[in-house]
């Protein structure tokens, strides 16, 4: 009786393709964190017209980014067929890409203001968590973007990375905008 050579497990090296994206993402997080810590916060930065203060601008940009992030989560679930009873429409990929881009681009000005005007902060749990999440989020986003360009990744890679990015942005929103709304009310 011949026994199957194929049962010898072939070592799956597809995850190794994540190495470079992860390394770059770590470098991004580190660079942001170091800049935030070393740079002397100015207290001010360029402002956006139409809002009562730079804080409200940030709060609403971040809230916009968070809403698009929810769209990201939903469209990803649909794409992967994890939303019961919904078949992925043909435009879902396009929708996922563009909602992600918009979310990211909304988050960038918020982050710039944080970095430039406020810096890395650890006065209390909220600001420390927010600072760490901010660094982690843009690193994770970088990993996700770079990973999208790789073919042959393990099936869990993109959902995991996407989940991390979503969790990061959610944490950022909770420690900033939600906190603002609960302490200051809904203001524009």
């Amino acid at each position: 009786m011949t026994v199957d050579p194929p049962t010898v497990p072939t070592i799956d090296r597809s995850a190794a393709k994540l190495l470079v994206p992860v390394a770059v993402g770590c470098a991004v997080s580190l660079a942001i964190g170091v800049y935030a810590k070393v740079h002397t916060p100015t207290g001010i930065a360029v402002n956006v017209a139409g809002f009562s203060s730079p804080q409200t601008v940030k709060v609403w940009l971040a809230t916009g980014a968070f809403l698009f992030a929810i769209a990201q989560l939903v469209s990803a679930l649909v794409m992967y067929g994890k939303w019961p009873g919904v078949r992925a429409p043909s435009w879902i990929g396009m929708f996922h890409r563009w909602s992600g881009r918009i979310a990211f681009l909304l988050a960038v000005p918020v982050a710039m203001h944080c970095l430039y005007a406020l810096g890395f902060s650890s006065y209390d749990t909220r600001t420390l968590a927010h600072s760490l999440l901010g660094c982690a989020f843009f690193g994770a986003f970088t990993v996700k973007m770079l990973s999208l360009r790789k073919s042959g990744l393990p099936g869990w890679a993109l959902p995991l990375l996407g989940g991390l990015v979503f969790a990061g942005l959610t944490g950022l929103w909770l420690t900033s905008s939600l906190w603002f709304f609960t302490t200051s009310g809904i203001t524009f």
Binding site: V38, T42, I44
Partner: protein, 224 residues
């Protein structure tokens, strides 16, 4: 065939960040409201503008605030626990604060008061963050490696924050006084070395610095 989209997304974010950084640097330079200046000798906090951040991200966010905060106000009182006193003067979006234990520890801080949010820095990495409204200010101040929390109310003259500076026999002498309901806490530094402050007459500002008669002035938030 590699997809270019994700890379373009990243680069677009980087480009937006770069543009905002340049705009922010211009905003900072032109309005000069940047942080920390301060009396203490080793001051000169240069805003480091080099090292462009990569994509970008950040700490800290929104600010708090309730109601309308006064355009000009002074808040003063003891820090929580009573170990030191603090006074914060706010005027037109700027703020000056002085932390003083009347003995060895003191810090002058300058920064912003906008949208109900206080954000001040001073020499030797002193920092103050907090919130304020028409009635009170509260928050956290870090100086000399220690942290105090405070919750103080608005005060009216003659209570408030007073400061005097002079060059006496070649030494830079700076005095700070926090007056709350007739009770005064102060420190005089000689070339940065803290020591006891002389009594101050809040009606005229008359006091002495290192033996020299000087006139201290009430500090509002517009600067030192």
């Amino acid at each position: 065939m590699k997809h270019k989209g994700p890379l373009i997304t990243l680069l677009a974010g980087l480009a937006v960040a770069a543009v905002l950084l340049v705009l922010s640097m211009n905003a900072t330079n032109s309005s000069k409201t940047n942080t920390a200046g301060n009396a203490a000798p080793d001051g000169a906090v240069t805003v480091t503008l080099s090292a462009a951040p990569l994509v970008s991200s950040p700490p800290k966010t929104a600010a708090p605030t309730t109601a309308t905060a006064a355009a000009q106000a002074t808040y003063a009182g003891s820090t929580n626990g009573g170990a030191a006193s603090i006074a914060i003067a706010v005027r037109d979006g700027k703020a000056v604060a002085y932390l003083c234990d009347g003995n060895r520890t003191e810090a002058w801080l300058q920064g912003t008061a906008t949208g109900g949010q206080l954000n001040l820095t001073g020499a030797r990495e002193a920092r103050l963050t907090g919130t304020y409204d028409a009635a009170a200010a509260k928050g956290t101040v870090v100086a000399g490696g220690r942290t105090w929390t405070f919750s103080v109310v608005q005060v009216k003259a003659p209570s408030g924050l007073y400061r005097a500076s002079a060059t006496v026999r070649g030494a830079q002498v700076v005095g700070g006084w926090i007056v709350v309901n007739g009770k005064t806490v102060g420190i005089t530094t000689v070339d940065g070395e803290p020591g006891p402050a002389s009594a101050i007459d809040t009606s005229t500002g008359q006091t002495t610095l290192a033996g020299e008669p000087v006139t201290a002035t009430p500090v509002d938030g517009s600067g030192l």
